[in-house]
Subunit: 254 residues, 2 copies
């Protein structure tokens, strides 16, 4: 059984794509077969994978709306990925009136499940149809939460979306973990938010060790490398590996 | 004729709400009558205005979906505002099947136009129905763009949304200005992005002086004060006033 994890938070810039890039890498290090899906029309993940997005002939859009097989590309880091570009934005409106629209991503993933242990879906920072079909297709949700100002408001809204998806279309959808991100441990506000998140959310799913704010992530992205490749001794690698370990423990042991 | 400005960018955390709080204040300083509308279910603007959001009986939701008059509250800083809370999220789904859904905000604003020179709409960081009806109701759009990583991708997506709203429902919709935000002038990447934005966008509308990244904005928000009240000599007040001046010059001179 493939573990399908939506990396989801409707708040922008909280580290979803960064988690997909890095956690996929660490899962490959642990020996798992991983597929990353770029489900964001902003397609930051695809840019990170070195794709020329204007030149892409096939994207996840064609799988969702035109029944094409998922366009799977092998990355340089051992995981596969399915790219997107701005054309995917059309799926937002086209999904409104499509047949079986909720199942479109689930159906697109069906033929490849046997090839992967884990599938990570990089969700857009939106509350629209793309996010919804990702939640419908998933077994689990991984939630990065930036430990600043809007952590609670955005988490409240996220919970409402999760409940709706679970009630209407995916009764077994669970949270895999919450990941505090952009954490500045010297900042009193950050430590307060982190502590409160851990108190409020741990009963739902593990609140993992925070990913510290570090310019190394931006630099690694610009080099198109996971942090562990770009700066092998960086302290943030420790919590990143713990996230991979948490997802790995969701996999059924053969 | 009332100038109705959507403060819009689907990217999260780029300074929309901060602009509404501060530019409204500076417009009042210039002598204009200003109404700020909180159109975000995350309702950060309403929190900033000191509203107990859980206790709110009437919000913009009731005006949009139940034909109630706009709930108008006088702020301590000379501008009026119409609050929101998480309940506004229901409008996203209810608008899908509502009659005359595109006109819902425009119609709600109609009775109060005579009372204001400018109306600023704080849009959610979403591409959904709330953003759409804001664009349909507006005469202008003010776009904050954070001078970091995703400036170009998010601007491209924003342009697509603008064109769709203009083509389908609001032919005279124009950009009032672009405002580079979160600007760190010592950072080479920021200066490059700022320069490129100015080159690419100035033919569409003025690209105004950037708002520098400064912890004073966060502190002022926590005190529930515009920056100019919290720290009257702060250098960022200069570009904020220029934005107010730009919006003011859109007002017809009597
Ligand atoms: N721990 C970190 N410290 C500093 N910068 C980070 C960290 N994690 C991510 N970043 C940077 O912050 C920016 C936003 O990260 P990322 O793109 O992963 O967020 P996102 O949630 O996917 O954004 P979006 O909502 O737009 O899809 C990127 O420039 C990224 O390199
Ligand atoms: N120039 C600035 N320098 C530093 N921090 C800022 C600046 N402007 C805004 N902030 C802070 O950044 C955070 C995001 O700002 P704001 O809420 O205005 O963005 P937004 O675009 O409205 O976000 P959202 O998309 O969630 O509605 C807030 O904590 C705010 O206080
Ligand atoms: Mg992303
Ligand atoms: Mg806001």
């Amino acid at each position: 059984m493939t573990i399908i994890t939506s990396v989801y938070n409707q708040a922008g810039g909280v580290g979803k794509t960064t988690l997909v890039q890095n956690v996929s890498y660490h899962l490959v290090e642990l020996g798992y077969r991983v597929l990353a899906i770029d489900l964001d029309p902003q397609s930051t993940l695809s840019a990170f994978m070195g794709i020329d997005r204007a030149e892409l002939k096939k994207t996840v859009y064609h799988s969702l709306m035109q029944d094409e097989p998922l366009p799977i590309i092998k990355s340089a880091f051992g995981f596969d990925f399915a790219p997107a570009n701005l054309g995917l934005q059309n799926a937002e409106s086209e999904l409104v009136t499509a047949d079986m629209k909720e199942m479109r991503l689930k159906d697109a993933l069906e033929p490849v499940l046997k090839d992967y242990d884990l599938i990570l879906i990089d969700c857009p920072p939106q509350l629209g149809n793309l996010t919804y079909i990702a939640l419908v297709a998933s077994t689990h949700i991984l939630v990065p939460i930036a430990t600043q100002f809007k952590a609670f408001d955005s988490t409240e809204l996220l919970m409402a979306t999760y409940k709706r998806a679970r009630a209407r279309a995916n009764r077994s959808l669970k949270f895999a973990a919450f990941v505090p991100t952009m954490y500045d441990g010297r900042n009193l506000a950050d430590t307060r938010v982190y502590k409160a998140l851990a108190e409020q959310l741990s009963e739902l799913a593990p609140v993992l060790d925070p990913i510290p704010r570090s310019v190394a992530f931006v630099d690694a992205s610009e080099k198109r490398q996971p942090l562990a490749v770009y700066q092998p001794r960086h302290p943030a690698i420790v919590p990143l590996k713990k996230i991979a370990k948490r997802l790995a423990e969701l996999c059924p042991t053969t």
